[in-house]
Structures are given as structure tokens and as C-alpha cells.
Amino acid sequence: MSLILFIVSFLAGLLGSLSGLGGGVVIVPLLVYGFGVDLLHAVAASLVAVVATSLTTTANLLSRGFTHLRLCFVLETAAVPGAIFGAKIAPSIPTHWIALLFALVLFYVAIVGFRGPPKPIKVTNHTSPAWLDLSYTYLGKKEEVHRLFGGWLLMGGGGILSGLLGIGSGSINVLILERLMGLPLPVATATSSAMIGMMASAAGWTYWQRHLMDPQLILPLFPGVFCGAWLGTYLISRLQVKTIRIVFSSLVLLMGIRMLVGVIA
């Protein structure tokens, strides 16, 4: 089982990284429906894989200078309590409700995958408070962060999803950072990646305290996703990413349908 789990998680990490949608979102359905793992144990294992992937990606992106660390720290003050809250309420929510929510998130991720990255929008002048000094330089131009409070609140919601479902919620974070707060896509992606590790770690601690972390499950999963994501970041500039994105989105959509069928059944 360990070898199969390693191969499957490697492919999930690779495809997730190449498509930019993250491998975490397919880990939980794979573990639940492919390997018969209990949902909460699958969520806990997925969180560890998400932390590992996020640390690798963040370390690579930090050196490129796109990560808006100050904004990341500010938004984490909402996302981390959200993730802990999500992880704390997860055991008391009926499994089929979590599965239903997961199916909806999978549908959303599949739609994002089919449509491609969102087009940049012109943001209105709702700049962040001057005392936080969140202005940043992108391509030699000074930029401002917009709608900070709205983004902060929504990040709390993203944190809840992360803690509840064991996902990085990268697609949701990037949408908030880019569409609402007006960050350019590379800055939004790098900042989201830095936040994901902290959110998943916070939720992971809660699952750890409840003894839901199964090292035997995590052992093949962690290196699988880690190696897949690492190879994905290496191959991303060398492959036809659009085709891979559509293939991965189709897979995510199928998993969403499978999860929905499971809930109805």
C-alpha cells in the first residue's frame, strides 16, 4: 500500500504543481475513496503534505522577491485562527457535510482550472492604513494594497476551509489577493504560498492534539507530494501547462462528482 500511496501522492503533487491548483485538494478524496482512510485522518495527513509543499514553494519564491511578507503576516492573524477553528469543529460536523463542502470546493477548483488564471482587474482606491505601511514595489513601481479589511475577513474564511478540509485553499487565497486586494498575480501567488504553510501548520497542530495524525499514512504521502511538487516547479517552464491544467481539472471535477455521489448515497 505504501508504494502505491507514494506513487499516487507523487502524481498528485506533480499535477497539482504543474496546473498551479495544488496537490492537496486531491489527496483527501484519493485517501478516502482510493484507500478507504477515515475522512479526518485523511484531512490530517493532507495538512502535513500541504505544509511540506508550501515550505518548498515558499523557500523558492522568497529568493525571487515576490512575496509580500508584511501583508502575509497581517493576513495570517485572521487565517490562522480560522484554520484552528475549522480544525476544532471538524470532528463535531457530520462527515457527509464535510464531504459535501469538499465536493463544492473541488467543483470550484475545477472551474478555476478550466477558465485559467483570472484576468487582472483595475482596483478602485481603497488603500490600506498608512500606519501598517503595506505598500510594495513591483517591477520598479510602487503599489498599494487595497481593501485590506475585506481581504482580512475573507482570509479567515479561507483558513476555516483549510482546517476543515485539509487543503491549502491556494485558489481561494489567490483570488482574494488578486481580485479583491489588487495584488499582481506573481505577488499574490507567492504571498498565498507563504500563508498556506502557516495555516496548514496551525490546523495540523489541532489534529495532532486530537491524535488524528497517522505517521504510517503520512510517511509515504509526504515524500510523494514533496518530490512531485518539486519536480513540478522544475518542469513548469518546460511543458505545455495548459493541457496539464485541463487534464488535472477534469480529474478534480471527477473527484468532486464521486464525492457528491458518495454524499447522496
Binding site: 505544509v51 515550505l55 522577491g65 503576516f73 502557516m198 495532532w208 503520512i218 515524500p223 514533496f226
Partner: protein
Amino acid sequence: MKMERLLEYILRLGLALSLIPLIIGGISGSIPWQEFGILILLLTPLLRNLASAILYIYNKNYLFTFITLITVLIILFA
């Protein structure tokens, strides 16, 4: 850029340090070693924030010292 460089090293070090006990645990079949590796991995983002807080203190930016520390405290005491 100094902070970015330091945080990059912390993240890479955390990943490497978590992989060692996981590999030892995987080879020997020892659950405590495997759990130790997972613990280091989960601790790494917290260490990232602690290191940032220290750097913010050094730069006399007490607001961001508080912001980075509060996230760590929330995780530790939640």
C-alpha cells in the same frame, strides 16, 4: 531582502531536518522517529514567524513584532 534570505534558509533547514527523522523512522519502522519528523515539519512555519519577530525587534518595528508573535501565540495556546 535580508529577511527573505534568512526565512528561506529557515524553511529549507526545517524541511531537511524533518526529512532526516522521517527517513530513519521509515527505515527502522519506529513510530516515535516518524512523529518527531512530522513535529519538526509542523514547527517550521512557527520558527519562521519567530525569526521574523526577532528581526522586527532588531529593526525597532514593534507593531510587526507583535503581529508575527500573536500568530505563534494563537497556535501555541489555542
